[in-house]
């Protein structure tokens, strides 16, 4: 097991290097750079050139990638934002925390709802309940989540216009008077703002997850040992929950890592629409400003996050499933 973990972790290193190199390459082939916006400065025609020199943008991009990599590896330095002139790490840290507070409850809620739904539809295959849930998941797969978020916002506004008070807020993470509230009011305020984005993110990731759970459960229930268990005279409940469910859930655990990218991307669009101050709005504004280090830092951190997520679910699978031995 130890050897497996070590080999798996070592395997991440070339992937990580290639991924960051690719990301850097893609950023660099974009025409112009941060200094381009000063190219037509009336007062100082050389301004763009001087800024390039100060920021080191006049060096070839592979060299700058190596510098960036060295700083990252030696002292976890992700560089300095060209727009805000601040340290990138201190810039993105609060954003990541905000995103985390949306992503974590959404993931937990998704699995809490999706697993029972999947088990139900698998056990009652082709019943009316299963068919209704199938229709819902087809709909859920087809609704773009930014559209759903827009609809929820529209509903919030409509509700306010017809009733004079807000049932759910129209975006943001806190109210404008947040700093004057007492601690528990602050907690309530945050929870109130979390409702709408959490709802949208969960609903849009529910369809996929419950379908996977249903498929896994059906797969397991078709196995020979389930027939054996039934033939032994075990009750339907024992067979379903002790034999089938446990084995199906194992696979679901392994897919959490694989579902994370979809969740992050899905939550990203919702953050953008509902003005949740997470990483995606920052990412988009940095893309438009060609703030290379912020873009790069976010890509790096997210890539690391995904890779670790995949690693953990692989390890969890290896721990739970006795057939996997390395």
């Amino acid at each position: 097991m130890f050897v497996f973990i070590v080999r798996r972790v070592l395997n991440l290193i070339p992937t990580f290097l290639l991924a960051t190199f690719l990301a850097w390459f893609v950023i660099e082939i974009a025409p112009g750079d941060f200094a381009s916006q000063f190219a037509f400065d009336q007062v100082d025609p050389n301004k763009a050139q001087r800024i390039r020199e100060v920021l080191g943008l006049n060096q070839p991009w592979p060299i700058r990638y190596l510098y960036w990599l060295r700083n990252l590896v030696t002292n976890f330095d992700l560089g300095t934002s060209m727009v805000s002139k601040g340290d990138v790490t201190t810039l993105i840290y609060p954003r990541m925390v905000n995103s985390f507070w949306l992503l974590l409850p959404a993931t937990v809620l998704t699995f809490l709802i999706a697993i029972p739904i999947g088990v139900y539809s698998a056990v009652r295959k082709y019943s009316i309940g299963d068919r209704v849930l199938t229709v819902f998941s087809l709909i859920g797969l087809a609704v773009p989540n930014f559209f759903l978020a827009l609809l929820v916002l529209a509903f919030a506004v409509y509700f306010y216009q017809s009733n004079g008070w807000f049932l759910i807020p129209t975006g943001g993470m806190t109210s404008s008077n947040y700093s004057q509230l007492s601690l528990w009011q602050q907690v309530l305020d945050r929870g109130w703002h979390l409702i709408a984005p959490l709802l949208v993110v969960t609903l849009s990731s529910l369809a996929t997850t419950s379908r996977i759970m249903r498929g896994e459960m059906l797969e397991v229930m078709g196995q020979d040992y389930i027939r054996t268990a039934k033939a032994k005279g075990l009750s339907e409940n024992v067979v379903t929950y002790k034999h089938a469910f446990r084995n199906a859930v194992v696979v679901i655990i392994a897919t959490i890592g694989g579902l994370l990218p979809g969740l992050i991307s899905g939550a990203g669009t919702v953050e953008f629409v509902m003005r949740w101050p997470g990483i995606t709005p920052l990412f988009i504004s940095s893309i438009f400003a060609q703030d290379v280090y912020v873009v790069m830092a976010l890509l790096t951190v997210l890539t690391l996050f995904l890779m670790i997520g995949n690693l953990l679910s692989d390890l969890a699978l290896a721990l739970v499933d006795p057939r996997i031995r390395y």
Binding site: P14, A23, I27, P144, F147, G268, L302, T303
Partner: protein, 408 residues
């Protein structure tokens, strides 16, 4: 596939009975079985019908839309949908007619209020010819030829026929079935024009993605060794970056150039396919790995066929049914991704339009206060939903049709 056998290619199309008899002699081909299975799938058949309608509407958008694609009218922003009346004041059936809409400012709330002006009826005319320079268009099959080629070949057919218009000689009364957007553009027409981009981008992107995936997967599986290792690592690295963020970074490559929409469209196709080919490459690689050890591949090698010929003529055609299914299931994903990209303002750029871009209007121009009562700007979202849903259903139907395990 039946269509590739030499018998069916020779001469005129054989009669249905002759074809059936031949199929019986030869044993049914894969495509015959698949088609038979597919026809038993009511949802997939319905989906095919709806998609057919959507694509036809997109093809003839110039004819169906009352106003040209770039029509704007800044005096007429966010006008609510025009109601078409079919009964006159006495409740009798009449030719369809509309009442013009007038806007005024509510001096208490300073909001624009739209009112229906019932003083005069305007009848709708069908199959009208609008001769204005902007109302002319290039009819459908010709419009697929790129503009440059049309100019060099000197093909300039123009059409002036529109499905409907207002019977108003002064041309001041407009009919907006689904209201107008932030620039006074006709939402109904724009949905049709936007369908061209939104619906074709998915097909093109999945074609390119599958072409790249088949090439890379075929090479990796056939040659193995360092090439295999390299391609697998590349796929892994692309997979490691969250797709939304990679996509946004990639589209930022061409965003600053301010390119015309005729260039942006193929670029988006490339961007979408660049992030989508990995999964195809992996599966094709695995299939080629097992296929190349089969007898027919070994026989071809013994007969002296070149490597390229073995890959192209013997291995890749074997993966065809998989590719058809993957393609039909990839298209809705690409439609959604294009919508997200355009919604973020990094995809299709105005004056071209797509459904995602139209929803961007809902996000950025309307502001939160206008969201509550301007419901018609959400109509493009319903079209994204319907097209993704129907493509998914069609893909499910095709998968069931081609998968021997799920045959009924």
């Amino acid at each position: 596939m039946a269509t590739q056998t030499p018998q069916t290619q020779t001469g005129a199309a054989p009669s249905r009975r002759a074809r059936a008899a031949r199929a019986e002699r030869q044993g049914a081909s894969l495509s015959t079985i698949a088609w038979k299975q597919f026809r038993q799938h009511p949802l997939a058949r319905g989906a095919l019908l709806i998609l057919g309608i959507l694509y036809t509407a997109a093809a003839f958008a110039d004819f169906l839309a009352p106003y040209p694609e770039r029509y704007i009218n800044t005096n007429n922003t966010f006008q609510p949908p025009t109601q078409v009346h079919f009964r006159d004041e006495d409740g009798r059936w009449s030719r369809p007619y509309i009442y013009p809409m007038k806007k005024s400012l509510d001096l208490q709330t300073f909001q624009t209020v739209w009112e229906v002006d019932t003083s005069q009826k305007y009848y709708l005319k069908f199959f009208v010819r609008r001769e204005g320079i902007r109302d002319r268009y290039v009819p459908f099959p010709v419009s697929l030829i790129p503009l440059k080629l049309r100019q060099t070949w000197d093909i300039r057919p123009t059409a002036t026929l529109h499905l409907f218009g207002v019977d108003d000689p002064t041309d001041r009364v407009k009919v907006h079935l689904w209201g107008t957007d932030d620039l006074g553009g006709d939402v109904f027409g724009k949905v049709l024009f936007g369908a061209r981009i939104s619906l074709t981008i998915g097909i093109l992107a999945s074609l390119v993605a599958i072409a790249i995936g088949m090439l890379m997967g075929g090479l990796a599986g056939f040659y193995g060794g360092w090439l295999d290792e390299l391609i697998l690592r590349l796929v892994e690295a692309i997979d490691a970056i969250p797709s939304l963020f990679l996509l946004l970074t990639l589209s930022a490559v061409f965003y600053p150039l301010g390119l015309p929409s005729s260039v942006v469209f193929p670029l988006i196709v490339v961007v979408l396919s660049l992030i989508g080919w990995g999964g195809v490459a992996r599966t094709i690689r695995a299939q080629v790995l097992s296929l190349k050890e089969r007898d027919f591949a070994v026989a071809a090698k013994a007969a002296g066929a070149s490597n390229w010929r073995i890959i192209r003529a013997h291995l890749l055609p074997q993966t065809l049914s998989y590719v058809i299914v993957v393609m039909s299931l990839a298209i809705p994903g690409f439609i959604l991704t294009e919508a997200v990209l355009s919604f973020f303002g990094l995809g299709i750029q105005p004056p071209a339009t797509s459904w995602g871009l139209m929803l961007n209007t809902a996000q950025s121009f309307v502001g939160v206060s206008g969201l509550g009562d301007r419901w018609w700007i959400f109509i493009p979202g319903i079209f994204i939903f319907v097209s993704v849903l129907t493509w998914n259903l069609l893909g499910d139907g095709l998968r069931d049709a081609f998968d021997p395990r799920s045959r009924r």
